[in-house]
């Protein structure tokens, strides 16, 4: 590919050097910005082929480039629609569901803080790991 640089290490003039493996291994391999309102949609993403709406607060993200194994890291957070105020009593948690990971998809669940499954206005799944 044009513009490709192959390097094992990058060095700053004063701050020291870093193996490029840190950059490659430490970068997110998939993420999404989910609009969970109405007929849900993806606002933007990386390495996602589709989103599945499984029901109230339940979603699956499918990956375009599968992970190499199921030992990857899945993080999530959510927020309600912006109101201009920092305070809210309806914020949600968004996390991987209690289903096995597969290399090609990850299941997610959004809940209110009292543990009830609930839809989210916006959800942000974020995944790290080795790609196939």
């Amino acid at each position: 590919m044009a513009g490709k640089i192959i390097a094992d290490q990058i060095e700053h003039s004063t701050a020291g050097s870093l193996d490029t493996s840190y950059v490659v291994n430490g970068s997110s391999k998939a993420w999404a910005n989910i609009d969970g309102t109405g007929t849900i949609a993806l606002r933007d993403s990386l390495n996602i082929s589709s989103l599945v709406d499984d029901g109230t607060g339940a979603y699956d993200t499918h990956f375009s480039n599968s992970f190499s194994n199921i030992i990857y890291c899945a993080l999530g957070c959510a927020k309600e629609a912006s109101t201009g105020s920092r305070t809210s009593d309806v914020d949600r948690v968004f996390h991987p569901a209690r289903l096995p990971f597969t290399t090609s998809a990850c299941a997610w669940l959004a809940q209110r803080y009292d543990g009830i499954d609930a839809d989210v206005d916006e959800a942000y799944p974020l995944l790290f790991g080795d790609l196939a």
Binding site: G38, D44, S49, V52, G55, S64, S66, N69, S104
Partner: protein, 155 residues
Amino acid sequence: MINTPSFKGIHLFDRLCWAKERLEPVQSDFRVIYEDDVDECAKILVPDPNFCAAYLQGGILPPVEVYWALADDEAKPDFKRHTRGYLLHETQPIEAGTMEDCIEYLIMKDLPRHIWQTWDTGNKPKMVICRKEQLPQTREWRNAWRISDELNLAA
């Protein structure tokens, strides 16, 4: 019009990054509704706009059969990690297609095989493709949504 470089042998993730940088995302109006379990509500597949853009561009994504091969490997009881990931990167990428082709590809990639292989057997269809305007516009009673028993397959 952006020309796709020759990507055969280039890591799929690099191709996806190339596409994300250069192609305008395409929001599809299509949704795929399917029922995986009689005790669960209908599920709805939403195509990813960057993926749709890559599909419509052509020369980026591998044939869907590659994903089936990896899924078969993962289904083996002794699966630890993919050893045939090279199939994603080294198989000749598919040519550009239409949005309808893209939805068909996503059905075969991301839906359980037993759904799309037997979607029209049984008492009612297990899978329906529709436009998002045909879905309920609010998520009220979402966990009760089902594919209608009265759906006319000939329509």
